[in-house]
Point group: C2
Chain length 613, copies 2
Amino acid sequence: MTNKKQLENLASLIRYYILLSTTKAGSGHPTSSLSATDLMVTLMFAGFFRFDLDKPGHPNNDRLIFSKGHASPLFYSLYAAAGKVSQREMLSLRKFGSRLEGHPTLAFSYTEAATGSLGQGLSIGVGMALNAKYIDKSLYRTFVLLGDSEMSEGSQWEAIQIAAHYKLNNLIGILDVNRLGQRGETMYGHDIDAYAKRISAFGWETILVKGGHSYPEITSAYEKALASKGKPVMIIAKTIKGKGVSFLEDKDGWHGKALAEEELKEALEELGEIDFSVRGEIAKPQKVLISKQELKSKTEGIKYPKDQPVATRKAYGNALVRIFPKFPDMVVLDAEVSNSTFSQNFKKAYPERFFEMFIAEQNMTGVALGFSRRGRIPFASTFAAFWTRAFDQIRMSQYSEANIKFVGSHAGVSIGEDGPSQMGLEDIAMFRTILGSVVLYPCDAVSTEKLVEEAAKHKGIVYLRTTRKDTPILYESRDEFSIGGSKILRKNQNDAVTLVAAGITVFEALKAYEELQKEGIWVRVIDLYSIKPPDIAALKKAAKDTKTIITVEDHFAEGGLGEAVASALSESNTPVYMLAVRKIPKSGKPEELLDYEEISKTAIVKRIKEILS
Amino acid sequence: MTNKKQLENLASLIRYYILLSTTKAGSGHPTSSLSATDLMVTLMFAGFFRFDLDKPGHPNNDRLIFSKGHASPLFYSLYAAAGKVSQREMLSLRKFGSRLEGHPTLAFSYTEAATGSLGQGLSIGVGMALNAKYIDKSLYRTFVLLGDSEMSEGSQWEAIQIAAHYKLNNLIGILDVNRLGQRGETMYGHDIDAYAKRISAFGWETILVKGGHSYPEITSAYEKALASKGKPVMIIAKTIKGKGVSFLEDKDGWHGKALAEEELKEALEELGEIDFSVRGEIAKPQKVLISKQELKSKTEGIKYPKDQPVATRKAYGNALVRIFPKFPDMVVLDAEVSNSTFSQNFKKAYPERFFEMFIAEQNMTGVALGFSRRGRIPFASTFAAFWTRAFDQIRMSQYSEANIKFVGSHAGVSIGEDGPSQMGLEDIAMFRTILGSVVLYPCDAVSTEKLVEEAAKHKGIVYLRTTRKDTPILYESRDEFSIGGSKILRKNQNDAVTLVAAGITVFEALKAYEELQKEGIWVRVIDLYSIKPPDIAALKKAAKDTKTIITVEDHFAEGGLGEAVASALSESNTPVYMLAVRKIPKSGKPEELLDYEEISKTAIVKRIKEILS
């Protein structure tokens, strides 16, 4: 174990790196780093944190998440003090190509998850702690460094309540109460009791550290924290922003600002002599092996009688149960609507792999990311509309190479009577923005089953959109579906126009085909179940053959199927006509609403006749 | 004042309407309505709620928001019991064209704000209460009916903390703890103390009602609540889901389910004889007039010297101060980054109209909606990236005819060193999905000033995107900018291609123009500062003149400027080539990142040469 003097030397070295690297970068957050330095030095080098630096992937390594990602100079400096980042590399902070980015990203191999959008780290930590306690049965602990400003994000309280609900005594938050936010004082300033009162009300153990720069106090707090039984623990430490440099300490106006060269000189003088040879040692993780769990297979094939319509959301539930034995890393999360999304099927079959997340979509996404980072394959479901709640977490997860399967049910106006608040009409646009994401929207139970399996196989972010009402079975169990694929449902050498649909509108397209065909108008019909990536070859072929494309979707016009197709064909000369939801929807029967929004058979027939006239 | 017997008769009539209307609709949430019936009957008809039913717009009317919007059958029934909805209309519930939609919308004139996505009503209430206390200085109170399930949404705790911060003793929450969520028991079941502990820890007065169906208990709770000094109040009532119908009471599996005809018959028998003639009276609002505040004008003109680059975010701050005297209904909100978004300029000039919302974007959006519903013009700002946090609230605000100006600073990779977590790269796509929204992205200080004013004039949802770094002054103070407009910056009869840019990329486009022109390649350059609605006429003219369009944007490819242009021109035969952010961004200098993402001058020149070759 490192003694107090060594800890002090390590802290001085780290403060030196923090100040030097940010000044060299010309930007960054030195003061937010300095406030948490002593908390982190003690955690890492006084024997509490257990981690094999040479094996970042060791399953029993403790996890450390900097939820206050702007303290990245401290984060990187800790590993410099541990001998894993050179001083030279420290000076590459924030420079193009450096793995030391402005906020932690996976470019740096010790980053557990990219942070920087505040109020997200604790949820990710909950996911990792759930994995340790309930799946891996590993002894690793998850530590999350939190800023006081970010405690105003509601997502924190979602994470706090769920951590208590699941009795995560392997989760330890460290709240750095340095009083100052970006533009001034936080809501509670230095009142650490205010935080303790709120957090303990939610069922956490709270440990107050009045001297957030005193090693004995901090050490004693960690000792207590590690002994907690049955409760997550929050260490709440009163610290000083800019600690260690007199003209920065507790001063407003120094957030996110690097020191000028002259100021740096003065600051470094205050730090005194630095022992550049000091290196912190980190305790090693437990060697206990994680026991592989035996899984009972409950597999059945895909069987949907052609004459019995089934909602794709039900097929999703069935698919989860069916594929689990093939993908034993699966976990399933739901935001208190498992009886609507049909993830309840999985819950019944494999209760130990289902986690109820209650109505808190932001935290659910963070938890999914935590699971994903620990090698699981999370499927998370709620109503399509409510995924908008978690857009920031979804956005951030792309920077952590997330392998998450998002599933949104109750898509579009076709849900009917519940009205606009429950209708997912921007979900495709939202998930399409994510780099490298896959967006799938099957129309029948068979293609849903197949695509759920494709989603599980695919490494990365997948969004699957399901439909509330029963839809006819269109496909055979032997049909194949792939990411980036499509199905041509109707084709004729005389096709005058190509109709591209997905999900519920596939059936409207087929009805329109029937009607038009009676009048001698031939229409190619494509089921573009993979909206991203789209089947560009099939679209280009159709564009070439029929000269005109018309899209029809149960989604707002912007960013949806129509724009995906227009975008895929934008460099060619093919006109693309788009039918989409363009009026504030109402309550009503699905058919009435499809008509009202002009995305029904009738609207398609009308539009095609207009185009061809 | 209505006596107990009358209240009971009113409650019976309301229960009758709830059951009948949902069965006739074939769907809806009768049990969630029945649990809150006695709480609401007492509020409205025992003299607590003050509202002139013939003047819903009366400024001193109390406000009532059903945050648990699925209890809409109760909501409408209250007004039926007050004589404002006929039994015949009650039977139109959830039918196409009825103003009684599945969840409350503005189609019904007593709806304060559309709800149905849980965990949003309290924030809207905070906005209304802030307006009453700090702006109107009106005595109206704001009541919010909350469900227990929705308390797991983090946004609730954002609203709770901010209401305490602003000492909103004119805000009264009524928490209907009926134990059961959609798919089973909530996290805390019937433990009303669990809620009290958490809510009071945040600085609210909490009043427990153990018998949520007892009129004396409920009455006494309201009496206490109205007497609160300096604190918001939460009435926490233990209720029974399905109360009044024995086979529904406290039973799982009855969420969101209407009774079958046979069950209805049985249920109505249990209700006993209904007095169809009973009508509830609602107390009238105070007649006190709201005093108009005197505003000191601090107006200055728009003056930006041509040789001094200014960031558009700074121009935004300047514009707020400049236009306020013309738009005295303005209020300005910011999520703790006012020194970055430059809303701090307004804060300094008009502190009484600036509300610090701390880092809680969801609540900020709800508060903005509350202000908007009370006739204010809220401007709300944060980093563009962090607006994704509030997508669900933004989405819902469109159903409340919101007049909100959203402003996102630090857009795109051009922010540089802070890295991807801070880069708004999906904000345009997000705001474009909102029906009827306006999306503006000015490139210089002058156009920003003009467009902020246009935004204030426009009734509806406007998103304004600003840039972190200083950009040259391109325009003259006399230039005009309009929603749906554009500026042709370079034009020649030999133009071989049209280059469409907005914001930061306008300058890359101009640099590309210079370089290409030297080689004899003429390019039309359009500043498409109004991305939605786009200037279709200018785009079509350019398409006709130059045959080819190329777009360049500091935003992900999906749903942004490129797709907006492709979409506007999709029915024509013009190829549109899109340059956009297509790789995970890094930290680095703005110029390095523009190059890396291939949206810089160099990339534009290269692409145009490829296209023309």
